[in-house]
Amino acid sequence: MNKMPETHYLNATKGIKSWLTTVDHKRIGILYLFSIMFFFFIGGMFAILLRLELLTPSELYIDSDTYNQFFTLHGAIMIFLFIIPAIPAILGNFVLPIMIGAKDVAFPRLNLASWYIYMFGSMFAVFSLVSGGVDTGWTFYTPYSTTTSTSVISMTLGAFILGFSSIFTGLNFIVTVHKLRSPGMTWFKMPLFAWGMYATALIQVLATPILGITLLLLIIERTVGIGIFDPAMGGDPVLYQHFFWFYSHPAVYIMILPGMAIISELITAHSHKKIFGYTAIAYSSLGIAFASFIVWGHHMFTSGQSELAAMIFSFLTFFVAIPSGIKVFNWIATLYKGSIAWTTPMLYTLAFLFLFSIGGLTGIFLGALSVDIHLHDTYFIVAHFHYVMVGGTVIAFLGGLHHWWPKMWGRMYNETQAKIACGLIFVGFNMTFFTQFIMGAKGMPRRYHLYDDVYRPFHAFSTYGSWVMAIGFFLMAYYLFRSLYVGKPAGDNPWGALTHEWSITSPPPEHNFESIPITEHGPYDYDKVVAKSTFTEK
């Protein structure tokens, strides 16, 4: 039976104040965990309410204006408050410095500041929620966003502020990876999670300022009418879309790259096999980061942008598939002849491979100009990005959370319940969203409150799926909270993994390492080094 260490980062100092003024990257990760999961819950509630309303073709319990506000809030909260910060701010903060053998991130105070900025920005979002909501969709397209009477300004201001939080996290990670790697930790001995975080951080730093200026311009356009986006003032609404997607397309990769980073860790740790194609995966992260900047116009094929631009964007879009494909093939090759452990993180990893492949491949359909004209603004799009965002990022995030949970708290959750929850989420997710592919291909437009009766069975099935998924999430919340109190101590290395974080106690000591560790073996040298698992169910 394992024992919990006597002092660790959780009990080194006590009291609310010690948490609110902490500069420890692990504690900041935990602060982010609770605040981000709170917004995940809110965003999820909106999703459930939306699906419930769509159970019937006519109005069930909310009117169309409320419906518009609900899908906007679902989107805006999930994107800006949950999925963009989730993996970097929670798991990245907690794990990245330990993985590369550092005592903290490069700028601990800036790290804490980024959490406060996150909370400050989220207050604006909450304010717009209670002060009449927003009904523009999370994209705030002009000219509607400059004319609607809902509280667009506070929501965009919130997103603007959240952008700074994102920039600071990214900046911190880049410097940490460059300057704080421990002796022996060369670039190509870095765990792939660090590579993924690094590529994500580059996008965060390069793209987020453009979002900042875009939202600022939108706010000024709404108040002063400067004439950049509003056609009534001589502006060009399509230009807004360029500005918006120049950030938001790379932002899609801010969401998915960390997910891929987690999968690279999980797949090797839980199949105890050296990762296949380390360099290819590492470079493909950078490749995705670069490619993400030159394809934004594929969101605008039907917007009235020039045909030349549309063709260029369609052409360039296919290039994004290459690095993503490289990753998927390498992961599958890693599994080959591995000693696969059927742990919860592994189940999530397999779910990821399945769902992300569907999400990614449907993305290629949509990147083809002519196909997109038919599928644009239908449920096909909705299904596609949910397969990537939920099936990819959220599933990877949950896998990572289950993987590092024993490291965070020193305790293990109930594996049986975890597997059931994983199954429920997987089945519920496919019920909800695969139906939407079919519905979309048949022409059901997105964002419609009332719909034709022929789509009724699809919508109803999709709604049932959302309930299955919700049960899975509630079960997960239950066993995770429960594990904090009654979970069995997990020991230092419950998975028998080789990266640095598993060589220290769980939970880790306050300053991670007694002395800066020397990296002796590669992060995935399962063929050379054997690490015994410190945890058994019995």
């Binding site: 390069l206 060009d236 942008q305 045909e307 030349l308 631009a309």
Partner: protein, 146 residues
């Protein structure tokens, strides 16, 4: 700093470099103002931007020590410019090419509503200027009936 990154001794540039670069910057400001008094047509923009770029490079290289520092900083600095370039160029593939294939039926860019109250009627020349995007390109409209 230079290659000897291990030491804590700062790399001090001689005073003459700062004063020299400073004088060149002020001289180039005078040159660009002077050059603007001539009309080189299309080259006005090019000349002004060329001088500005030279000035900016001098500031970056000497005042910001990019010439002597870790080349990573130079790379970061240039990557910002490159991404900005991508943004401008690809966006212009749209904004300057609308109506190339299918004619834009409505006017591309109209006058803002505020001018109704200001009682300014845009002169014919200006109107043509604003609509040039669609009028210039009507000749290459593809006849889809064939």
């Amino acid at each position: 700093m230079t290659d000897n990154t291990q030491t804590n001794e700062p790399h001090v540039l001689p005073l003459s470099i700062y004063l020299g670069v400073g004088s060149i910057l002020i001289f180039l400001t005078a040159v660009t103002v002077y050059a603007a008094s001539f009309n080189f047509g299309e080259f006005n923009l090019l000349i002004a931007m060329l001088i500005a770029t030279v000035k900016a490079s001098l500031v970056a290289m000497y005042f910001m020590h990019l010439k002597y520092d870790n080349k990573l900083y130079l790379l970061l600095f240039l990557s910002a410019i490159v991404f900005l370039g991508i943004f401008i160029v690809i966006t212009m593939f749209d904004t300057l090419r609308r109506g190339d294939i299918y004619e834009i039926k409505a006017g591309a860019i109209r006058d803002a509503v505020i001018y109704d109250s200001l009682h300014i009627t845009p002169d014919a020349h200006a109107l043509e200027d604003s609509l040039s995007i669609s009028t210039d390109t009507t000749e290459i409209v593809i006849d889809t009936t064939k």
